[in-house]
Symmetry: C2
Subunit: 240 residues, 2 copies
Amino acid sequence: LVNPNKFRFADQDGVICITQNETSNGTQVSNKVIWQIRENNPNHLIAIDTTSSMAGVALNFESADLWLASVQKCFGLPAGLGLLICSPRAVERAKAMNKNSYYNSFVFMHEMMQKWQTSYTPNVLGVYLLMRVMEDADYIDDIQAKTIKRYFDWIEFFGETKGMNHLIKNEEAHSFTVIPVATNSEASIKKIKSEAKGEGLLLGEGYGELKATTFRIANFPAIKKSEIKKLQQFLKSFDR
Amino acid sequence: LVNPNKFRFADQDGVICITQNETSNGTQVSNKVIWQIRENNPNHLIAIDTTSSMAGVALNFESADLWLASVQKCFGLPAGLGLLICSPRAVERAKAMNKNSYYNSFVFMHEMMQKWQTSYTPNVLGVYLLMRVMEDADYIDDIQAKTIKRYFDWIEFFGETKGMNHLIKNEEAHSFTVIPVATNSEASIKKIKSEAKGEGLLLGEGYGELKATTFRIANFPAIKKSEIKKLQQFLKSFDR
């Protein structure tokens, strides 16, 4: 687990980056730890990667300055948009630095935003779909409750299987939105993945070194109850 | 008109950039002129901006090295994708320069392409819709024939109006896909634009200095015959 007391930095105006939800291995950093890092480093900007958790769990946006996310995870949309939530402090810092030589320079984007204009031609269909999905979305507390309940259903499920386990031993570090599963042999992983495909179930590949020995289950709000049931039945049939 | 003989450059490895179709004022550079500039400058890379013409007119891709376009014009799709067509020579030059410090560095994109991978998470819905539209598209020669016929219909139309004219006097310079229209007074432009909106017709604003005195008509393949008819009837009712 991340120990926030180990992250005290002397530098006056640095940026601390934290991956709140690590998609590759299914771990997360809690809101509480992020808040403690914030308190221990009052002069830093803190940037949080929530690619695979924003809109699936409740985040405390006051505890950091920059929040990054993607729409193809918990927002339930096709890939094609990135999201960036900024604190007033981050905006001020960007203005003071005034670096304008990048493509998608933040200063330029912010200037255009003030005029209700886009900096470049945007992905209009993606923006429109995001609006529609957000108009229909439940409050984040309710979404989070559903996410966490489903996460515990999965924990219970893998508690009952013989040859499959959550990859991460320390439950406190578990991500709620990404569930990495290890089995007792490489051969069974291969077979599970290929047969799942035949059933119309696309299991997330394990990442990097973990590719051969794990697969990953997305626990995103847009997934249907019936889809979870189907996947559990399929996995059960493999559990010998 | 662009005189290709005026564009002979001594520099060995420069890049010549040409806007083939100028969306702002409805002019174009012909395939023939681009070909002549190619012949006069054999050592240069030539880059062509065809944002508002690719997929609406036939371009001679052998006459230049880089072709840029957008999907929200002649491809008939919502904005959100840019297209880049590259010659083998452009690829070689990029590899030789090997500049990798940009976001969307071409060298990196090309490396990933070779592995059938994306460099960053793409706009997947846009890519999919582009595929679907391209699968259904006619051959470009047929599309071009339709574009040119409709362009001449518009020329005929404005030949018969009293107070509206094609903005550009020199017909040889006319774009086939963007038709800029000037009227005899600023007041009538304002009225036309606002009443068009009421009829569900969104007229393209004139660009920059031309905003107050012109509007623009898109002559893109996806526009329906009935839509053109409706617009012509609307404009006729204004032509006193």
